[in-house]
């Protein structure tokens, strides 16, 4: 069992606050991904859990034990670094054996554990090579092997895939996810790539400017983003944002007016927002459909200036109401030519609304989490 609990964790360099009041609970066996733009403090947070950065305030508990001042060497963790950080002077075998030697295990035990880890990651044929004789993907596997060989309580991954090419990254992503299923350990994974976060995590922690924006399952974050930032960060291509105004509201609905004067009722709770106040309408590129004259649907005219054919999907880039818009074309064969104008519709229940301060209003008909 290995739970990690962060209570009011703070990190400051002098007067510069890097992390602020971080509260987070990570249950045993969870795969938690810290995601956020660069400078959000996600790596610092991971390194604090690992014992590589001092904790300026708050309490860090691993297995209900306060470890704020515990040496990294004593925390019994495994970590995979972005640079892999293999020991260049040691062979792969000795790299894998290093944590076990530090734990003062016997020779036979070391040999058998190294063998098991190598077999799990299919690097047995590389055991006698030095790190510099390995390819990027192989180094990555050795780095993971070195982290798992000691069977640590918690695995930490610091952007482990960002030095790999796209194809390898997808492979390793699957391999790490499988590894998590096989080992069942707690894993904490840092990335700036929201696709990695979405595909691997049980729980995503979105960080921005040293604060947690939202914690939730990938499904929750996608369908019920708490803030405009999360809505824009999760999902690719990113969500479109259009300015609008609240025109009227009742308990379960809000009527918003767009720039062209048209207005629609959306199944979103306006809460404390009063009519006349400015809002931001959020629409995911994938939520555009062909207009069908259904009552209540929101029709948006887009001036398309670029069409991207991906084979499986076609994305239209253009503008509406003076804002950039990306929309997935409902038909695969879109040939408007440059400067074409197209009308696309959005179902009201697919719309997101954000206050001026970027807080999301509650969507009443958003898909429920299946997990």
């Amino acid at each position: 069992m290995a739970e990690v609990r962060l209570e009011g964790i703070r990190k400051a360099y002098g007067t510069v606050e890097i992390l602020n009041d971080i509260d987070l609970e990570i249950a045993h066996g969870e795969f938690v991904v810290f995601v956020g733009p660069s400078g959000s403090g996600k790596s610092t947070l991971l390194r604090m859990i690992g014992g590589l950065e001092k904790i300026s305030g708050g309490t860090l508990k691993i297995d209900n034990r306060v470890v704020n001042l515990m040496d990294a060497a004593d925390r019994n963790l495994g970590m995979v670094f972005q640079s892999y950080a293999l020991y260049p002077h040691l062979t792969v075998r000795d790299n894998l054996a290093f944590p076990l030697r530090m734990a003062k295990l016997g020779k036979n035990q070391i040999a058998s554990k190294v063998h098991d880890a190598a077999a799990l990651l299919q690097i047995e044929h590389l055991l006698d090579r030095k790190p510099k004789q390995l390819s990027g993907g192989q180094r990555q596997r050795v780095a993971i092997g070195r982290a798992i060989v000691r069977e640590p309580k918690v695995f930490l991954f610091d952007e482990p895939l960002s030095n790999l090419d796209t194809e390898l990254r997808v492979q390793m992503r699957v391999q790490i996810a499988k590894l998590h299923r096989q080992l069942g350990n707690t894993m904490i994974y840092v990335t700036h790539d929201q696709v990695e976060a979405m595909t691997m995590a049980n729980k995503i922690v979105v960080l921005k400017d040293g604060r947690i924006e939202q914690v939730g399952s990938p499904h929750d974050l996608y369908h019920r983003p708490a803030t405009q930032f999360v809505a824009g960060f999760i999902g690719s291509p990113r969500m479109n944002f259009l300015p609008c105004k609240l025109k009227a509201k009742d308990e379960a609905r809000a009527e918003v007016a767009l720039r062209d004067g048209s207005s629609r009722w959306l199944p979103v709770q306006a809460g404390a927002v009063e009519p006349g106040q400015a809002l931001t309408l959020g629409i995911r590129p994938d939520d555009f459909v062909a207009p069908s004259e259904r009552p209540g649907e929101l029709v948006i005219e887009i001036d398309v200036d670029f069409v991207e054919h991906l084979g499986s999907a076609t994305y239209l880039y253009g503008a509406a109401f003076g804002e950039h818009i990306v929309a997935r074309s409902p038909t695969d064969h879109f040939h408007a030519g440059s400067g074409g104008r197209v009308s696309l519709a959005v179902t009201p229940s697919d719309c997101h609304l954000f206050t001026e301060k970027g807080k999301a209003l509650s969507r009443l008909e958003a898909p429920r989490s299946w997990s």
């Binding site: 014992g51 590589l52 060497a73 950080a85 530090m102």
Partner: protein, 286 residues
């Protein structure tokens, strides 16, 4: 990187390299020739390039037993003990500098200590100042402490030459080791001392061999410290000066002494060239 060059450019560049080599090699060749000539050949004008080589000069250098009776008249030369002195002093200095300087360089590279840059600069400062600056005050100090003309005193004072280099080179080599590697070792269960022993030192090895060679050469060639602070334990550089005996035409023996003095560094450079280049240019890793 390979550029395409016209044959004319290549020729000019090669000619320049050849010229450089010639200018640099001339004194060396001249001294080696001199060391193999007799006194008459040395003094001949115009200089002779064809002569019967003799090892007499080298015999004079080392033949302590026959002291006094040489073909140059009555002189006594003992060149073996200065060489031994130099080896002991230079080697001892390097070893002491490694023991003291490597940990210091590591701390300066990796740890946050108060006044870090000032300390580092102060250590390097000894390399800016002329050695005589230290020598004059030390002269009386050494005499009163009984360190004058002892190996311990010499090795100690030679730290002025060797220690700053070892500290600064170690610092830059350690900075070249990605911090991740040490952090990985810490996560893998290694306490700070074990991180240094198992990870940092093996990675520094190549760089430190180069740095040691380099400071050994610096120590070997030092003159002022030995001249002022030793007499019987004087290094070979001081002994060479003593060969400049006023009134005696002593050039061929002195040339032989120079050749002998050069042999140790030359052997070291030839053997350790790979490491030396590395010590001068690259860090320990990559």
């Amino acid at each position: 990187m390979d550029f395409t060059r016209s044959p004319a450019t290549t020729f000019v560049l090669n000619a320049l390299v050849a010229l450089c080599a010639l200018i640099l090699a001339f004194p060396l060749v001249w001294i080696v020739m001199m060391s193999l000539k007799t006194q008459t050949d040395v003094m001949a004008w115009p200089p002779t390039f064809v002569f019967t080589p003799t090892l007499e000069n080298f015999r004079v250098l080392f033949d302590v037993a026959q002291a006094g009776a040489t073909s140059y008249g009555t002189i006594k030369v003992d060149f073996l003990s200065p060489i031994i002195n130099s080896v002991v002093i230079a080697l001892g200095s390097v070893v002491v500098s490694l023991i003291v300087g490597v940990p210091a360089g590591y701390v300066l590279a990796r740890r946050d200590i108060p006044f870090k840059e000032d300390i580092a600069f102060f250590i390097l400062g000894f390399r800016f100042a002329p050695v005589l600056l230290v020598v004059i005050p030390l002269f009386s100090l050494f005499q009163s402490m009984g360190l004058y003309d002892t190996y311990v005193g010499m090795v100690w004072v030679y730290q002025v030459i060797t220690l700053p280099m070892i500290v600064w080179l170690t610092r830059s080599y350690v900075e070249d080791i990605p911090k991740d590697i040490e952090e990985a070792a810490a996560i893998d269960g290694a306490k700070p001392v074990r991180v240094v022993l198992h990870i940092v030192l093996p990675l520094l090895k190549t760089g430190l061999i180069g740095a040691s060679l380099l400071v050994f050469l610096l120590a070997w060639h030092n003159f002022a410290l030995g001249l002022m602070l030793s007499s019987t334990k004087a290094p070979v550089t001081v002994a060479l000066l003593k060969l400049l005996n006023p009134g005696v035409q002593f050039y061929p023996v002195m040339a032989a002494g120079l050749v002998v003095t050069m042999i140790v560094p030359v052997i070291l450079i030839v053997v350790g060239q790979r490491h030396l280049e590395r010590g001068l240019t690259f860090g320990a890793v990559k």
